[in-house]
Structure formats: structure tokens, C-alpha cells
């Protein structure tokens, strides 16, 4: 009932673990994969290791969290060795490898190294707090098209381009990724934000600014998915503030084929996937509608 086909990948439901949430190693990804989930995404990885920023790297805020991890990762070669044990059986949960690179050649190299162990590549074009990477390249349509194109030339597996909402018009970036050869878009990553401690009178995050995630950004993400759905012809994966089944359904109605869940785990734990899945099932049964019919349904103009 909830099975979907996302750019050729068979997912038992449309729920995907978002990048940077728990995806640091094989065993923990395996544990998440056993939680009623359609696919899992790794922490973003680059060509060489990054230590990340000094702390605090996370701050709770009213309706979400601010984070500035600084893309800590051991580098793609270590990750590839770590994930070589992942079960690539067609019925197993697909593993999406999240990568970044500051140039098209670098992104292509990282993608080529990790591709043998992954079912798809997600290009992080949108981290708001890593200079030279992510948003630094993801806000320029030409750079986005070139990076996606370079990765397209380097790997045979599907490519997802993960977009930032911190741009004037997300559809321009989405179209650039589509023409570069992306098979799907992921929207959205976190939004640039910050918090100040009034007692110590200084920014709370070690990196001063970070990315806002959680329920606070959901309406922004819904709009991004809604706009992209009109602008591109490739599937969209919605992300941003999903905590309940209702939230996930809202994304599907806006035009998402699948959704990613990250910060919600801080509120609900790993049972969040089962909770959302059950709610979606009940909704589809009650409304007598299929998941495929639901995608983008909020776009219809008349009753």
C-alpha cells in the first residue's frame, strides 16, 4: 500500500532517513533500516576527512533545533570501507550516499568512490554552514548544473540533488539540477539561523551561525516542494520538520513522492517511522485513495 518506486529504487514506504542524522556508520544505519523505513541516507561525505566545528554544535529552539556540526566525516574512502558490508539485495533497504564537493571534479570523484556500495547518490548542495561547500555552491544555478552533470558522468546509479531554501527562487536551482541530470530533488535542507545566550551574551553555536531544522521550517519546506512540483518533471523528496503522519501527508499533497525525516527523531525516537507509517496507512484507507494519487493533489484547481 505504501510501496513506491523512487527513480528505480524500490522502497517499502516513502519514509527516508535524512542525511546527517545518525548515519555515521554501518551498524547504526542498519539499526535505523530495521525501523519500518523505505531508505536510509548517510552523513554527507567529502573527499578528505573533516573534523567538524567545535561545540556547541546543537541548540534546541522553540520549534526545532539549530545545528552547526561542520560536516564532520572521515572521508569517502573510510566510509566506502565501512559501508561495504551493506546488504545490496534488491529487497533490502536502499542506502543513499550523501556527498559534497567544492568543485564538479571533486564531487564526481567522491561519488565514483562511494557508488559501488550505494543504491543512489544524494548531492548536498545546501549545507548552510560549511564555507566552500554546500550552500556556497548550491545557490548558483550554473555551479549546480555543472556539479550534477559531473556526478552524472561519474556514476550509473540515481542522483538526488538536495536543495537549500536560502535562495531567491528555489525553482531556478531545481531546474538547473534537473538539466544537469538529477533523477530527483530533495527539498529542503536547513535554513541559516542563529541564537544568542542572553546570560553569557554571546552566540550559542561554536560556529556562531548554523542551520535551523524541525517543525519551524515545515511551512517553508511545503512551499518549496509545491513550487518545485510545478517547475520540474522529476520526483521530489520532501524534507523539513516532519514529526507526524499528518506532516508527511502534507508534503505528499504538495508534490513529494517521498519524504525524509531527521530532527523528528529527537522528539519521537526511532519509533517515529512506525508511527508515521501507520498514520499514512490509516489515512489512505479512510480516504480510499492510493499514495500515487495523493502526490501533488493540492495543486488541482477545482473541487
Amino acid at each position: 500500500m505504501l510501496e513506491i518506486n523512487l527513480c528505480g529504487m524500490r522502497l517499502k514506504n516513502p519514509l527516508i532517513l535524512a542525511s546527517g542524522i545518525l548515519g555515521t556508520g554501518n551498524d547504526i544505519l542498519r539499526r535505523v533500516a530495521e525501523c519500518n523505513i523505505g531508505a536510509v541516507t548517510t552523513k554527507s561525505m567529502g573527499l578528505v576527512s573533516r573534523p567538524g566545528y567545535s561545540g556547541p554544535s546543537i541548540v534546541a529552539t522553540d520549534c526545532g533545533y539549530l545545528n552547526a556540526m561542520g560536516l564532520p566525516n572521515p572521508g569517502v574512502k573510510v566510509f566506502a570501507a565501512e559501508l561495504a558490508r551493506w546488504d545490496k539485495h534488491p529487497a533490502a533497504v536502499p542506502l543513499i550516499a550523501s556527498i559534497y564537493g567544492s568543485t564538479p571534479a571533486e564531487a564526481a570523484e567522491v561519488a565514483a568512490i562511494i557508488a559501488p556500495v550505494a543504491a543512489a547518490i544524494e548531492i548536498n548542495l545546501s549545507c548552510p554552514h560549511a564555507s566552500g561547500y554546500g550552500l556556497a555552491v548550491g545557490s548558483d544555478p550554473q555551479s549546480v548544473e555543472k556539479i550534477v552533470y559531473a556526478v552524472r558522468q561519474a556514476v550509473q546509479i540515481p542522483i538526488l540533488a538536495k536543495l537549500s531554501p536560502a535562495v531567491a527562487d528555489i525553482t531556478i536551482i531545481g531546474k538547473a539540477a534537473e538539466s544537469g541530470g538529477a533523477d530527483a530533488l530533495v527539498a529542503i535542507n536547513t535554513l541559516p539561523a542563529m541564537a544568542i545566550d542572553i546570560t553569557l551574551r554571546r552566540p550559542l553555536l561554536g560556529n556562531i551561525t548554523g542551520g535551523l531544522s524541525g517543525p519551524a521550517i515545515r511551512p517553508i519546506a511545503i512551499r518549496a516542494v509545491y513550487e518545485l512540483y510545478k517547475a520540474v518533471n522529476i520526483p521530489i523528496v520532501g524534507s523539513g520538520g516532519i514529526v507526524t503522519g499528518e506532516d508527511a501527508i502534507e508534503f505528499i499533497l504538495a508534490g513529494a513522492t517521498a519524504v525524509q525525516i531527521g530532527t523528528g527523531i529527537a522528539y519521537k525516537g526511532l519509533t517515529i517511522f512506525t508511527e508515521i507509517e501507520e498514520r499514512m496507512r490509516r489515512y489512505l484507507q479512510q480516504e480510499r485513495i492510493s499514495l500515487a494519487e495523493l502526490v501533488g493533489l493540492a495543486h488541482r484547481m477545482s473541487l
Binding site: 545518525l22 551498524d27 542498519r30 556540526m69
Partner: protein
């Protein structure tokens, strides 16, 4: 999690709580702890937490608290809790360290067993050499442990051989402390959230026999 402004945020365990005051015991090992040592009265730091799973508090069992080096710190907090809420049944304390000067809180905890690697205080050797004897002697029903991973591994084995449950507080590098970022994974477990205190069944996955 303790925030040292302008430096870093690090995970620390609580050493003692009196009224509104939280006491931390910090060993100078790196930049952040050096900065903590340099603080003066009136300086401010940030605190968030506590997070994760703590020790159990069995008051009807004979329990041995085993601290290795600075691992005694969170056990001290637990010991205080016993002193306050279960004064009639205090746990037995066993302390091990490299050398006499790294033994903390001896006067306060009144350990029944002290072991140092160089023999400068108590018995000479490793705490694990003497623990089976102590378990028999006091007819221990549970071990509660904090210390280096190798010590936890051996004590896990000893507990299994003695047929008693063990819980151990483990250390790992942490960033978020709330089970999101995956910095603290050991196998499939999150030290910040599933731990830092793990019970026998989880330790079975973490301490190789």
C-alpha cells in the same frame, strides 16, 4: 553537556548535587578541560542536560560500585544518592587507579578495596585481579562500573562468570548529546541516548568476550 564559551562543549558526568549547585570533577586532559581549570569564581559556563540513561538504584541488593581512575566521579554521585535515600544499605565501593595520586574521594567513599597498578596505595595490580574475591566475600548481587573500556570489558566477563548483572557507564566523544548526530556510536548503540549507562544485555554487544 558543558559549554566553555569561546572554546567547545564537552560531555561530563555529574559528581555531586547539593541544592541548586552542581559539582563537576574535571581532569585536565585537553584544551576544553584546561580552560575549565583556568576559570575563576564568578566566571560563567553553560550547562545542558542531563541526557540519556542513568544508573539503576537497587536498594535491596548488595551492590559493588567499581570506579577505575576518574571513573569514580559519576559513581560518587550515585553513592551520595544512596547515602541520602538508602542509608541503611550502602553499596560497597572498590577503587582502582594507576597510582595513589589518581585515587579520588577515598575519605568520602570509604572503599573496601583499593588497587593501584604501581602499588603506591592498597593492593598492587588491576582491580579485576581482586574483584572476584570481593564479589564472593560480600556476596555481591550487582556490579555498577565506570572506568576505561578495557576495565569494563574484563569486569563484564567477571560479572558473567559470577552470574550477576552489571551496568557500566561508557565514554565516547559527543556532539549533540540527544541522539541525532551519530558522533557517539558504538556498534549500533548511541552512547548519549541508549547510554551512557548500559546494562548486561547491551554490554554483551559492546564488550567482546
Amino acid at each position: 553537556m558543558v559549554w566553555i564559551p569561546g572554546c567547545d562543549e564537552i560531555p561530563l558526568s555529574i559528581s555531586s548535587v547539593t541544592g541548586p549547585n552542581v559539582e563537576l570533577t574535571v581532569v585536565r586532559v585537553g584544551e576544553a578541560t584546561t580552560r575549565l581549570h583556568a576559570l575563576k569564581i564568578g566566571d560563567q559556563i553553560g550547562l545542558r542536560g542531563p541526557y540519556g540513561q542513568g544508573f539503576s538504584f537497587p536498594t535491596n541488593e548488595t551492590t559493588i560500585l567499581v570506579g577505575g581512575g576518574y571513573g569514580i566521579v559519576p559513581l560518587r554521585f550515585l553513592f551520595h544518592h544512596y547515602r541520602r535515600y538508602s542509608p541503611a544499605k550502602l553499596p560497597v565501593v572498590a577503587l582502582g587507579a594507576k597510582t595513589a595520586t589518581s585515587l579520588l574521594f577515598i575519605a568520602e567513599l570509604n572503599p573496601q578495596l583499593i588497587v593501584t597498578e604501581d602499588g603506591t596505595a592498597g593492593k598492587k595490580g588491576l582491580i579485576s585481579d581482586f574483584l572476584p574475591g570481593l564479589i564472593k566475600q560480600v556476596q555481591a548481587q550487582r556490579l555498577i562500573v565506570c572506568g576505561p573500556q578495557e576495565m569494563v570489558n574484563t569486569l563484564y566477563e567477571i560479572a558473567c562468570n559470577s552470574g550477576i548483572p552489571i551496568e557500566a557507564s561508557l565514554e565516547e566523544y559527543m556532539r549533540c548529546g540527544i541522539g541525532l548526530c551519530g558522533s557517539c556510536v558504538k556498534r549500533a548503540l548511541l552512547v548519549c541516548n541508549d547510554g551512557p549507562v548500559f546494562t548486561t544485555d547491551k554490554l554483551a554487544l559492546l564488550c567482546k568476550l
